[in-house]
């Protein structure tokens, strides 16, 4: 549908460079040296079973945990702590329960001390973008899981970050809601170009969304393989290319799961 990614001839600029970043806790290696470059406005999925260090890697990019060795560079600048330029969407939604949907989305602009009217307008715009214009006054406790995650996405986008980090954002949702939100996420990504890093353990989710899939290995966590997804959007989950790719990656992931022993 959108061929722009493929018609641009100039090579994309590197947005995120992971330079030998590793993490160990109490001498135990959670993530072995990772070297990886992510192009600007690309959509990368970190895929692997639990214990592969994919969330650790995401948390390091977010600036929540510092790497034990190596570093992470965004626009050639080393990450030192969280920043408003890197929006994060969490599996647990992490909405502020005492703030309405609108007030949650206003949080980023509020931190940047924008005037109230501008905050409101920005928040309303992004709530609309995620299809929740009519739910602005509701508290998170009054929203379904899918709606909560829409608010969380709007909240992250309202800061207009150049990087969007998503930690298994649809992991807690039912299969139908999940597919709808995947499609919406792609629609939003077409509109608001960001460099997206998306953690998941679902192979089909990764193939449906990503330009590139980073398959992670376990014990210790590390990169096993990097696979480009050449399929055009919108991707057909039951198309032959999709299914073939799914089969291939399933094999890779299974090897890693087996390393963990009992399932």
């Amino acid at each position: 549908m959108d061929g722009s990614m493929h018609t641009v001839s100039a090579p994309a600029r590197t947005k995120i460079r992971i330079a030998g970043a590793a993490k160990s806790y109490n001498g135990k290696v959670a993530l072995d040296r990772v070297d990886l470059q992510l192009a600007e406005n690309s959509f990368t999925c970190l895929l692997g079973p639990s214990g592969c260090g994919k969330s650790t890697l995401l948390n390091m990019i977010a600036g929540f945990v510092p790497p034990s060795t190596g570093q992470i560079l965004i626009d050639a600048e080393a990450v030192a702590g969280a920043s408003a330029d890197r929006g994060v969407v969490f599996q647990e939604y992490a909405l502020f329960p005492w703030r309405t949907a609108l007030a949650n989305v206003e949080f980023g602009p509020l931190m940047r001390r924008k005037p109230a009217a501008e905050r409101r307008a920005t928040a309303q715009h992004y709530l609309e973008l995620v299809g929740l214009a009519g739910h602005a006054a509701k508290f998170p406790s009054e929203l379904s899981g899918g709606m909560k995650q829409r608010v969380a996405i709007a909240r992250a986008l309202a800061n207009n970050p150049s990087v969007l980090l998503m930690d298994e954002p649809f992991g807690a949702l039912d299969a139908q809601t999940r597919e709808v939100l995947q499609e919406e996420l792609l629609r939003i990504w077409e509109q608001e170009r960001k460099t997206v890093v998306f953690v998941t353990h679902s192979i089909s989710e990764a193939i449906f969304l990503a330009d590139r899939i980073v398959v992670m290995a376990t014990q210790p966590g590390s990169i096993k393989d990097v696979i480009d997804v050449p399929l055009l959007h919108p991707r057909d989950r039951s198309g032959p290319d999709f299914v073939a790719m799914e089969r291939r990656i399933k094999q890779l992931v299974r090897e890693e799961v087996q390393k963990l022993g009992v399932m």
Partner: protein, 278 residues
Amino acid sequence: MTAITEQWAAGESAERVENREKRTALLLRAASLLLFFAIWYAVAILNAKVFKFFNPLLLPSPHTVLFAGIEMVRTGELQRDILASLSRVVQGFLLAALVGVAVGTAVGRSRRLEYLVEPTVELLRPIPPLAFLPMMVLWFGIGETSKVAFIAYAAFFPIFTTTVEGIKYVDPVLIRAAASLGASERDIFRYVVLPAALPNIITGLRIGFGLSFFVIVAAEFIAADSGLGFLINDARTFFLVANMLLGAAVIGAIGFIFNTLLRRLEARLLRWRKDARG
């Protein structure tokens, strides 16, 4: 529950079932109070007129207590005593709230301060505050200061403990979310930690207020010339049992009113919580 599902099966709308449940609940609550007074009446009257088990002076009937109350309002005694007790409670409670929330917040935020403060608090906390009352009277005299200090001391502990818990156990993912949205340390405290700890703090304040009332009466038994505790103790000296019961009833009524008001306030402040909507 099973009754409700059966009624559903019988084709009754859920709303109607719920409304009837509410009416029944209200009826039972009213019956509880009516029953209490009926038994009180029955025991008092039957004892006085028929059985003569004990001296009828020991248990006046509800209306005798009511008349005693009217009489005390007429002389102005009751208002004076209510005001005296309330003023002490409010002063002591406010002091405890201020110190409890401030120290609790500081301790909740600093591990080192927690190490420094927690053992002492845990040592003092299990001692019933009443054990310190005689000393408080020695230290602060028999005037207002000793009573206010005593209330503040008693109410401090629940307020302090719940505040520390509330501040300490803020969901870390909320803090991360705020940091990723550009919040500074100060912003995180103001916009995340404090609102997240608010339900805990409010619970502590409610318990602290209840405790303030609980201990003021005891303090006024020992050293006071006004207040509801004094009223009861003074009535005992003159064997005015109706007045003693009146004092207790007024304390009950005030406690009930304040608890209701605080619960309303809580429901308003915490309207984002599903369970607070009740």
